[in-house]
């Protein structure tokens, strides 16, 4: 099923799979979908997450310490897909775990779980020929990142090879929370739109309802990662893992997402 955004703005939620446990990630993902998330990015924990700030780094370390493996994340995706057939599901990973698994095998197995797409953080369009062929073979959407520093020629290529949506990075830097949405973001989205009619989601530093409202003015969806990963961390530490799904659901309901059909 193609990725679709039923809310205005749409909401993409990033979760580090296996933090605090695979079962908890499943329950959090389902709660997030029920509260209004259109797409769940299931983050494969990696030992050296150089594009991530401290919050996601800590979550990755915890997930790895619990022994979370790529094949566990794929099994988790299958469970979430079974529970919520209409939600968008994306595997979000650094490249090396995928390469080690085998690109061909990964593509086959990821497609078989029913996920819609894949985002490989350190895969850029120039290096992506084989990757794109594999994604295309099994009909998975390759999602590429677009950055404020990307010149127009790159944005054109990124738009051309992305499917599902284009992920616009709101600002230079690593993942994390921030005070306000950078002015870079609106300009970037406008530049991307010259090259594609795909939905554009804005991420990096989107932390609260105010940010989401700002993003809604110029983009199709907001991506929230670190703020939710941190919420899961805090709820787990203070009240136990079983309280994390409720905390995430309350957070999402407070974001002011509207049903896209009604919004029109």
């Amino acid at each position: 099923m193609p990725i679709r955004f039923d809310h205005k703005p749409g909401l993409v939620v990033y979760l580090t799979a296996g933090d605090p446990s695979l079962d908890a990630t499943r329950e959090i993902a389902i709660a997030a979908i029920d509260a209004g998330a259109d797409v769940i990015e299931l983050g494969v924990p990696f030992s050296d997450p150089l594009a991530d700030g401290p919050i996601v780094q800590r979550a990755s370390e915890r997930a790895l310490a619990r022994g979370t493996r790529l094949r566990d994340v794929l099994a988790l995706a299958r469970e979430i897909r079974a529970a919520r057939p209409r939600a968008g599901l994306v595997i979000f990973s650094y490249l090396n775990p995928i390469l080690r698994y085998g690109l061909h095998r990964f593509a086959d197995e990821a497609a078989a779980t029913g996920v819609d797409g894949v985002l490989a953080t350190d895969m850029i369009v120039e290096e992506a020929a084989e990757y794109l062929a594999e994604m295309g073979r099994v009909n998975l959407a390759p999602i590429f990142l677009a950055a404020p520093t990307s010149p127009d020629a790159r944005l054109e290529a990124i738009a051309k090879y992305s499917k599902g949506f284009v992920y616009a990075i709101s600002r230079v830097g690593v993942t994390g929370t921030q005070q306000s949405v950078a002015s870079d973001a609106a300009t970037l989205v406008e530049r991307i739109r010259r090259y594609t009619r795909l939905p554009v989601a804005v991420g990096f530093g989107i932390s609260n309802a105010e940010h989401v409202a700002q993003v809604a003015e110029f983009a199709d969806a907001a991506v929230i990662g670190s703020a939710i990963v941190e919420l899961v961390e805090r709820a787990t530490r203070e009240n136990g893992a079983e309280t994390a799904p409720g905390a995430v659901a309350r957070f999402i309901k407070g974001l002011g997402l509207r049903d896209a059909a009604l919004a029109r």
Binding site: F46, N96, D122, A129, V172
Partner: protein, 402 residues
């Protein structure tokens, strides 16, 4: 601006491939900066004024050319091949790292960048970078793993004295790999104003090529010197390999001379199990770490393995992509030397020649000591003595109970 061409297969992608290895696997935010760097480097490389300024600094500031020294007493004590030492240890700041730091420092200045960041393992690249930044009036921040800051404390203090800010890295293994990740996080955040002065022949294109080019002077001099002294090429060139910058610099001009053996020495650490060593060609598998496709020590899930070596400069889970290609083609041989043999080599060289090698370079000395006795007196071994051991006195005092 380079055109966006999606190659038919990854090995046919743009420049920066060594066989199938190398390439550019980075967050999108950095790609434009890498393109800018590649362009600036290509221009500088072709600019006679840039090359003249670099040559002048290499000569008058760093102390090039470095001598090729015949280690007579070491040779006699082993009773086999003649052993020569290429004395990169005599360079200003104490290691070959200054060659690249000067080259890239001039490039940073040429590009108008006022802030330089670097990672360091043993601290030699950090010291070289701090030195060059002082010389050129650039702000300098060096990332260094907490473990390395402890074991290379003297270099931490040298960097601070030179005006650099040293930022400890407490994530992961707290060594070189984590320092690189943290430097990349800084770069991705401050990419518009900051020059990342990467210290080894690693990382995303154009770094492996550029760093190699700046160290190529080692093999250029070496070739002339050995021809002058011996009238022929050596039997083998031996160099230690962490990321691989000194080794690629020492090998490069000899790659076409098929009769010259090129021997890279990796850190064998304290055992053969994953996590106990940093010998990427003995247990590593091709993968992507920190921007490049090369051999990587990793577990079966593609998580990067911890490494161990007594020498901080060799303690890294991946290896420069050009070495991966030289390995696969068979043009270079890669062996490993364990901590104990490296320490023995320090003592041996100190007591036969009065030369104290860095623990990294001692791995190459150890391999020469191992193979020289079985070779003929007509054979010639050249060890690239990449650095001096003053920085290691704390470790040596402890390990050798001095």
């Amino acid at each position: 601006m380079a055109s966006i061409i999606v190659p038919a297969n990854p090995s046919e992608s743009r420049a920066g491939r060594f066989g199938v290895y190398g390439g550019r696997y980075v967050p999108e935010t950095l790609v434009a900066a890498l393109d800018e760097l590649e362009h600036a480097y290509d221009e500088a490389k072709a600019d006679a004024a840039f090359q003249a300024e670099l040559s002048s600094l290499l000569k008058d500031y760093a102390g090039r050319p470095t001598p090729l020294y015949f280690a007579k007493r070491l040779t006699e004590s082993l009773g086999g091949a003649k052993i020569y030492l290429k004395r990169e240890d005599l360079l200003h700041t104490g290691a070959h790292k200054i060659n690249n730091a000067l080259g890239q420092g001039l490039l940073a200045k040429r590009m108008g960048k006022k802030r330089v960041i670097a990672e360091t393992g043993a601290g030699q690249h950090g010291v070289a970078t701090a030195t060059v930044c002082a010389l050129l009036g650039l702000e300098c921040v060096v990332y260094m793993g907490d473990v390395d800051m402890e074991r290379q404390d003297l270099n931490v203090k040298r960097m601070r004295l030179l005006g650099a800010e040293v930022r400890g890295v407490s994530s992961g293994s707290k060594t070189l790999k984590d320092a690189i990740s943290e430097a990349m996080r800084d770069w991705v955040t401050n990419v518009r104003t900051t020059y990342y002065l990467l210290g080894s022949a690693l990382g995303a294109h154009p770094y492996p090529t550029m760093v190699r080019d700046f160290h190529r002077v080692i093999s250029k001099e070496l070739k002339q010197q050995i021809l002058k002294k011996e009238g022929r090429l050596p039997t083998a060139i031996i160099a230690c390999v962490g990321g691989g910058s000194n080794a690629i610099g020492a090998f490069y001009e000899f790659i076409g001379d098929r009769q010259v053996r090129l021997i890279g020495v990796e850190a064998g650490g304290r055992g053969r199990a994953l996590g106990e060593h940093a010998a990427r060609f003995q247990g590593g598998a091709p993968g992507v770490l920190q921007g490049t496709f090369s051999y990587v020590l990793q577990d079966e899930d593609g998580q990067i393995a911890l490494t161990h070596s007594v020498s901080a400069g060799l303690d890294y889970a991946s290896i420069g992509p050009e070495h991966a290609a030289l390995h696969d083609s068979g043009r270079a041989e890669y062996v490993s030397c364990d901590d104990a043999a490296a320490l023995d080599a320090v003592v041996k060289l100190a007591r036969t020649e009065g030369i104290l090698p860095a623990l990294e370079s001692a791995h190459a000395v150890a391999e020469a000591i191992r193979i020289a006795p079985a070779l003929a007196p007509s054979d010639i071994l050249v060890v690239n003595l990449s650095g001096r051991g003053d920085k290691d006195m704390g470790i040596l005092a402890r390990e050798l109970k001095l």
